[in-house]
Subunit: 271 residues, 3 copies
Amino acid sequence: MSTVINDNTVALMAIRVREEHPMIHHITNSVVMNFTANITLAMGAAPVMAPSITESAEMAGYAGALLLNIGTINPELLESMLAAGKAANEKNIPIILDPVGAGATGLRTNAIATLLSELNISVIRGNAGEILSLAGTTGGIRGVDSLVSGSGKENIFMGFARETGIVTAVSGETDFITDGTNWIKVCNGNPLMGSVTGTGCGATTAAACFAASGTPLLQSVAAGIACYNIAGEIASGICRGPGSFVPEFIDQLANLTGETILNKLRIETNL
Amino acid sequence: MSTVINDNTVALMAIRVREEHPMIHHITNSVVMNFTANITLAMGAAPVMAPSITESAEMAGYAGALLLNIGTINPELLESMLAAGKAANEKNIPIILDPVGAGATGLRTNAIATLLSELNISVIRGNAGEILSLAGTTGGIRGVDSLVSGSGKENIFMGFARETGIVTAVSGETDFITDGTNWIKVCNGNPLMGSVTGTGCGATTAAACFAASGTPLLQSVAAGIACYNIAGEIASGICRGPGSFVPEFIDQLANLTGETILNKLRIETNL
Amino acid sequence: MSTVINDNTVALMAIRVREEHPMIHHITNSVVMNFTANITLAMGAAPVMAPSITESAEMAGYAGALLLNIGTINPELLESMLAAGKAANEKNIPIILDPVGAGATGLRTNAIATLLSELNISVIRGNAGEILSLAGTTGGIRGVDSLVSGSGKENIFMGFARETGIVTAVSGETDFITDGTNWIKVCNGNPLMGSVTGTGCGATTAAACFAASGTPLLQSVAAGIACYNIAGEIASGICRGPGSFVPEFIDQLANLTGETILNKLRIETNL
């Protein structure tokens, strides 16, 4: 794949996901299982959710990507994530981590620390508060969300990606995706998406679907999030509120064409 | 807050929820997690669902209200509810209990008895059968649902609220909310709401969102249920069945204005 | 009930479900709980989901049918299914099994083997790959999905039903339902249904709703799946994608009339 990212390469990656139909194994929170399974299908990939430790590693071995989401984590589910993650690492299957609520409780802080130390994570996607909390955990700068300017935050995100070697995607008004050296900003999206539960988790699913089908990961993760946000942007302009957003969004994602991507994509990059 | 309840005070409470954006910690059943998270957001509050005992108490400490719903209860989840509830009680965070299926099985009867004896519950919301079962458990009049007239039931509900000190909200064609001395009847709503799973649990969420933002609890719980039922009433008149009801309902709830509340509210009270 | 199946008998069975309003106890996967609860309500039955082993057997005793779905199975949930299943068997309550992902992992293979050996299962509904895997498990012909022709597969399905005494429903472009001697093909449906998570699980719910209200099981299961597929076929022609399919489908199912069944039903049978 080209290391360039533009409307053409994003459209080609979207087509590749539909052609390759990768299986995305989710070990995820119970609030968003149905929603993110339908997001996976709408992007042309195949969702599997097998949370029990008695099968999570075996199932991970068949996957194109493994998504770990700690939204309703507990100690047993963490063990299952570790087992599945080790199986994925052995087969070089990319692991995409969504650190929901990072920093909010000791359980979450410890769960993320364990996952980062025991597994080779390829991609992390979260909001600014979550990623800043992670950066603080590893670099001693906890709780800086309100203290740091926009470009200051981007430097922290790049530092975190560089130190950990993890492609880091930060959602917000503009999404910022970086591998520590290069970065891509996705300007598509709509604030209404924040009024619907699971839209953050769904962005992680989008990243996983594209990560399963293409490298380099920086470009594929940004492309997945861009397609997701374009569909959300279009749906936000059509729906009448957060309730009608959900079916409209999934329709737009399922019906997203290369032409729409060419017309709508708004990205910036230093590539 | 005024102890009066009318269209103006209900509209003001709805605005206050959107301004204060309280966090509602749900430990709830797995069937309705997604639906009630979206209800919470549509009312302007912030949902959190952290069911593991390893973090439920810590998370409860940050909440504006703690909602406990026993729809898919098990012994471990009950322990987590108790831990979260004790943390909430220590910080005077109101606890709202939804006794789903009360009286149906020994597990549920015992779970409710344990929650009522170990925790200081502020509000209970259920249907008539569930609340009559609770009243029977504490007062020896089990199984009276079909035997008792409408006003006879209301006396039982008031007696239960008076004996326990718990604001009690009973859903039905008319919703009856009482603190044992005073009562408010909410006449808004539509029978179609009964054809959608989780609409009862969602009413408990509505009560919790408003309980987090205002006292006295009798008025705030009634106001939350009234707004919820107004949105359901409007959505029922627009949708084509229980499937299209869901997105329409969440839209109406998210877009509910003070003006609509003034036009639609139908309550009776002895206040 | 007549042993004939035609548009009239299917319409009569649909009416009977609405009149009898049977309770369908689901022990099912966490991805589809909300969706299949709403499917149950839309068909006129009453969903209950009580997964904990501390109440699953007690609740099963009140049910018109018990549905077991292994989509997110784990060892504790399997024990709960066995307890509920034994209670159902004692009261001659039909058990409907959905062997999600049969053959994919050792956990699933073992879970199905245990359920089949310990319980008297009345109905199994799955896709061709799942049922072929089951047939292979009991008959030594594992992994034949791509090797066998259409009529070859039907012979395997009939053999499986005959050997086990279980009414077997196989979803696909045409659904094939057999008791080992007789068969019914349901030609209704639309490929779009495969783009929505849980539509297979929902077909099992449809089978359970009708199995609770009528015998012979071959006819009632086929009738339930036919009504389900007719609603899906109509919804697919109206919606704009897999997102808007969901509310439209549930509306169509809830509003399905005898007249629509008479106009739309397309079945073949050797009865």
